[in-house]
């Protein structure tokens, strides 16, 4: 075969393939990816592969919960559950990817509703969908967040921050729960501060904190516990419910957002914003399916997650990994999300 003909063969193959693809796209009948489970119900998942998107890097709290549930969820559904890490954009990238997936239940994900709502209130175009339209499957637990400073640093207590005349250098990841809490808490309490965004990941944020590039960070307890227990960080304020005994010990005596509200005099509007922020912060790490997922499929997923969460083996592993577990069922999560979204306007002056 001559060189000329050798070129023609693959070129013809490529052209034919592209033409086929074009015809197929034009007809609009084909479907890429996924196994499809239009019928819904647990039996529809048997032998299939479900992709569970964790919107952070391996080792993060979303990833840890996704990997914790994956094998047991697979066991309940008779499917293989594959965890896929899509980090970036303070969890928005993973959320967008989940929301854009075909709504057949074969691609589900974890969602940071609090951060997403704050982004929407801020008017950012980054979140492509309305979080109230997601099909919520459940939430592993309400996770506390904490504001910490360096151990031995000049900021002694949260009250001293409130009364400080020098601006506090706050380190921040854009679009996360921590970002929303930083903006609302520092803004509503009137704490002078300078927000340094630009940290692309929790790793970079921790690194900046340890290198003392700023004074405080506001993050999930799962991220902060090693720093607090290693005497590298001192907690100043906590939001949410602290259920894990080790975390309770680490946060002993630390004021909560509610307790500070009763101590510090702020206006009704500021109080409302802080309460809204607190409610949104409780809505991280939710399991959800893309908008438009059939009700039967969502119901099967909800049942499977609930059963998996009750398995002693999963609970034992959660304890081993220091992951709080108090599973909240999908319908409850969905109504909490709807309520939080409907009552989020007061945070607007702080997050915009």
């Amino acid at each position: 075969m001559t060189g000329h003909k050798r070129f023609l063969v693959p070129a013809a193959a490529a052209v034919a393939a592209i033409a086929l693809a074009a015809c197929s796209s034009a007809s609009g009948t084909a479907e890429a990816g996924g196994g499809g489970s239009s019928g819904g119900g647990a039996s529809a998942f048997k032998g299939k592969t479900i992709t569970l998107i964790a919107p952070d890097a391996p080792g993060g709290s979303y990833d840890s919960y996704a990997r914790l549930f994956a094998p047991y969820l697979g066991q309940e559904l008779g499917a293989t559950v594959n965890v896929e890490n899509v980090d970036g954009g303070g969890t928005l990238d993973g959320t967008n990817q989940m929301a854009a997936a075909h709504p057949d239940g074969m691609t589900i994900g974890m969602v940071n509703v609090g951060g997403d709502v704050a982004s929407k209130v801020e008017g950012q175009p980054s979140l492509h969908d309305d979080v109230t339209k997601f099909a919520y499957i459940g939430q592993p637990a309400v996770l506390p967040n904490a504001l910490v400073t360096q151990s031995g640093g000049s900021a002694g207590t949260f009250t001293s921050l409130v009364h400080s005349s020098d601006p506090v250098a706050v380190l921040d990841i854009r679009n996360g729960i921590g970002d929303m809490l930083n903006r609302v808490v520092f803004g509503a309490f009137g704490i002078k501060h300078k927000l340094d965004t630009g940290f692309e990941s929790t790793t970079a944020l921790k690194q900046g904190f340890l290198a003392k590039d700023g004074k405080t960070i506001f993050e999930a307890m799962s991220t902060l516990y090693p720093l607090i227990s290693g005497s590298q960080a001192k907690p100043l304020l906590v939001t949410g419910t602290v259920s894990l005994p080790t975390w309770r010990n680490a946060l002993f005596g630390v004021p909560t957002l509610d307790s500070e509200l009763s101590q510090v005099s702020v206006s009704a509007g500021q109080t409302k914003a802080l309460k809204e922020a607190n409610a949104l912060a409780n809505l991280s790490d939710d399991f959800a399916a893309p908008p438009g997922t059939p009700a039967a499929t969502v119901s099967a997923l909800r049942q499977a997650f609930t059963k998996a969460a009750a398995l002693p083996a999963l609970q034992k592993q959660a304890t081993k990994e220091s992951l709080p577990l108090a599973f909240i069922a999908g319908p409850t999560t969905a109504s909490q999300v709807a309520s939080a979204v409907a009552n989020s306007s007061s945070i607007a002056p702080y997050v915009k």
Binding site: G3, H4, R6, F7, V9, P10, A11, A13, A14, A17, L20, A21, S24, S25, A30, A32, G33, G35, T49, P58, G59, D63, S64, R67, P71, T80, N82, V86, D87, G88, G89, G90, L92, D93, N96, Q97, M106, S119, P125, S126, R174, D196, T197, G198, F199, E200, T203, K206, Q207, G208, A211, D213, P226, L227, S229, G230, Q232, Q317, K320, E321
Partner: protein, 713 residues
């Protein structure tokens, strides 16, 4: 500490730990050698198995896999110019030219010995710095990161991969521009995604590097229709291989300074999260080139080049254990997954770990040290068999490498966009190599661009312009970068004069290609201007640095275009006395070099890595003879055909899924594109290649639970 060190070792002496060490090493070596399969895939695959394991065996399995895969990634880098992992690219620069000379055994021996020695030096650094790793982090703030990245870019720009510093700068700028695709960490704004959710997370380095390096090399080999050793059957006897291995070990001993330097640099870089992981090998190699006595010969297949690249490959991984264990901060993708594994095992990295389980970090170090030694020894033993890959014709290798690259690209991104990135960057890589642009500068720009932009922003936010007075360490790095830049420019000028050999002088100066060069520069200029305009439309925080980079790229491209225009005008005014030589070959023929061939038993041909269509002179200045025009056209036609095959594999996989697309394209390719003496040979090879492709595709899809089934399937 001695007690902890010994206890750490004794914990590994259990049948379970030893068995998992061997298993991890085997998996790591196998996966590491396969382009696209790298360490992150291998480690991710293991995570689900860790739930029921205890800490020491699980850690042993993970780290043994990791350590072995980084060594193994160099094997294909040397033999086929196709690094198993992007980090191993610097090894190709000298390893592959040596393999082309028929000295693959020698190159593999240098690689193995340097990796082992470097890894052990890394272990010493780890032991020395583990307890103070927590304090070291206070030395590195955003200005220091900016300075280190600038220093890295300057060093890497001087790898000598391209003959033109302007092209190196343009390559780096284009790499930076690619790195800004996706969500901006400062403002959260999506940049250059054009509404595509697939691009939200930016470009992934695995498919990009596979496209730039592995696919481009397949195009070269298909174009030549020869084996790596230039068509000569380098089937050496065992005595000749043993001689090459002995020679390689002697080379390593002779270049111990390069090994130690690279190991120390990489070990220390490994301690710095966010910088060390990927760029350590690039920086070590580039530093070696600048300071080594043989620096001028780097890129032509010199032992010091391989030792400089390989001395760092395991050392950086050992070094990166310190921040991972002491602070929970990973330095590279392998360590990110390793920290996730520790979480699954209920181990919290941080200062408490050093107190509560003081022997564990030392057990980790011992795993790395043992695997470094055993895998490299195994590599030496396997050298005679591995080296035979260099005698296999390129077209025969192509179905295997392309299948692996397509699947590996999908797995790296978990989306077909990764495969599209592979195809796009295969084309980009071919154009860049033809025109002498720097693949290394572009890759490093892509990898470090995001970190660079974030830290420039943070520097400005936290320090303002005071960073120059508040960060003495950053000032030192900046000063070194400036001095190096001056030295590289000065040496570059001298080197530019030196490459004009009598043969080159007789043939006349090499001219830029009259059409492709200006067209490419015009394309870069237009794209940069469009990029600049789009950047200016983003909020200031999101658009500032992309605008500056694209603006500089546009100015540089327009300046080169202007310079070309002036040359054209001058040429028209003064009719040409002699037609300058132009070449579009990716890898022109080189004459065998008798002196070198005689120096090493088994050395069969001399070939220098041609990255710009103009091969550098051989060690004694012998240069390539240009191909006859008909042969050149035939070769270019074959290179286009190779690219078309790669794209056909991508399109068929998209339409019918990997299980059908990959084997079908392998069958079609084998039946039509490989010449055999007998029809039965063609059929037999096509049947075997199709079966292998099917096994790879089906096995891969099952193993990694990939859900892509194709548009029409």
């Amino acid at each position: 500490m001695t007690h902890d060190l010994l206890s750490g070792f004794s914990q590994l002496i259990t049948p379970e730990a030893i068995g998992l060490l061997i298993a991890g090493m085997a998996i790591g070596m196998f996966m590491g050698m396969l382009p696209g399969m790298g360490v992150s895939l291998a480690l991710s695959l293991m995570l689900p198995f860790l739930y029921h394991m205890s800490v020491i065996p699980a850690v042993t399995l993970m780290l043994a896999t990791q350590a072995a895969s980084y060594y193994a990634a160099s094997i294909t880098a040397i033999l086929l110019n196709t690094p198993g992992a992007p980090e191993s690219y610097p090894t190709t620069l000298d390893g592959f030219p040596m393999a082309k000379r028929g000295e693959a055994g020698r190159a593999l021996a240098i690689s193995a010995a340097s990796t082992w020695a470097g890894g052990w030096i890394g272990c010493i650094i780890l032991v020395a710095l583990l307890q103070v790793a927590g304090s070291l982090i206070n030395l590195f703030h955003p200005p220091e990161f900016v300075a280190i990245i600038v220093l890295a870019l300057v060093l890497i720009g001087g790898t000598g991969e391209s003959t033109s510093s302007a092209k190196v700068l343009l390559s780096g700028a284009v790499g930076l521009m690619f790195s800004f695709i996706g969500s901006d960490p400062v403002s959260g704004v999506e940049r250059f995604t054009f509404g595509s959710t697939a691009l939200l997370n930016g470009l992934n380095v695995v498919p990009v590097a596979l496209g730039l390096f592995a696919m481009t090399q397949m195009v070269v080999m298909f174009g030549r229709n020869e084996s790596v050793t230039g068509g000569s059957r380098a089937l050496l006897n065992s005595g000749q291989f043993r001689h090459q291995v002995r020679l390689g070990l002697r080379d390593t001993a002779a270049n111990w300074v390069s090994v130690v330097r690279s190991a120390v640099v990489a070990g220390v870089l490994g301690l710095i999260p966010g910088i060390g992981g990927f760029s350590a090998n690039f920086i070590s190699y580039s530093l070696g080139r600048q300071v080594s006595r043989q620096g001028r010969e780097f890129g032509t297949g010199v032992p010091a080049g391989i030792a400089s690249a390989e001395g760092s490959s395991l050392s950086k991984e050992v070094g990166s254990l310190a921040p991972a264990v002491a602070l929970g901060l990973p330095s590279g993708v392998g360590m990110v997954i390793f920290i996730a594994a520790l979480a699954i095992l209920g181990v919290q990295p941080g200062p408490n770990l050093l107190k509560s389980q003081p022997t564990l970090p030392y057990s980790m170090m011992w795993v790395m040290a043992i695997v470094g030694l055993v895998s490299c020894a195994l590599g030496l033993v396997l050298t005679p068999w591995l080296s035979r890959a260099t005698s296999v014709r390129g077209p025969v290798l192509m179905p295997l490498i392309v299948s692996l690259a397509v699947l590996g690209s999908f797995a790296a991104v978990t989306g077909f966009v990764g495969v599209v990135e592979l195809g796009v960057f295969a084309v980009v890589g071919v154009v860049m190599r033809k025109l002498g642009y720097s693949l290394a500068a572009m890759t490093i720009g892509l990898v470090l661009g995001g970190t660079f932009a974030d830290n420039v922003h943070l520097t400005q936010q936290i320090y303002g312009w005071h960073f120059l007075t508040r960060s003495p360490l950053a000032d030192v790095f900046f000063a070194i970068a400036i001095v190096l830049l001056a030295a590289i420019t000065w040496r570059g000028r001298r080197r530019g004069e030196a490459v004009v050999t009598p043969q080159r002088a007789a043939r006349g100066p090499r001219a830029p290609h009259p059409v492709l060069e200006p067209v490419t520069e015009a394309v870069i200029a237009v794209v940069s201007i469009v990029y600049l305009v789009i950047s200016l439309g983003y909020p200031t925080d999101a658009g500032r640095i992309p605008a500056i980079v694209s603006g500089l790229a546009a100015v540089l491209a327009l300046a080169r275009l202007g310079s070309w225009g002036v040359r054209q005008l001058a040429t028209r005014r003064q009719p040409a006395e002699a037609t300058p030589e132009t070449s579009l070959e990716l890898e022109p023929e080189l004459k065998p070099e008798p002196a070198m061939a005689a120096s090493v038993p088994g050395a069969v041909a001399v070939g220098a890595l041609a990255l710009d269509g103009a091969p550098p002179p051989g060690p004694d200045g012998i240069e390539a003879e240009p191909l006859a025009p008909a042969d050149r056209r035939r070769r270019i036609g074959r290179e286009f055909a190779a690219l078309a095959w790669i794209w056909a594999a991508i399109v068929l996989s998209y339409l019918f899924g990997f299980q059908i697309g990959v084997p079908v394209i392998a069958a079609a390719y084998c039946l039509t594109s490989i010449g055999w003496n007998h029809r039965w040979q063609r059929l037999a090879f096509a049947a075997s290649a199709t079966a292998v492709a099917a096994i790879i595709a089906i096995g891969f899809v099952s193993l990694f639970h990939l859900t892509f089934t194709g548009l029409l399937a």
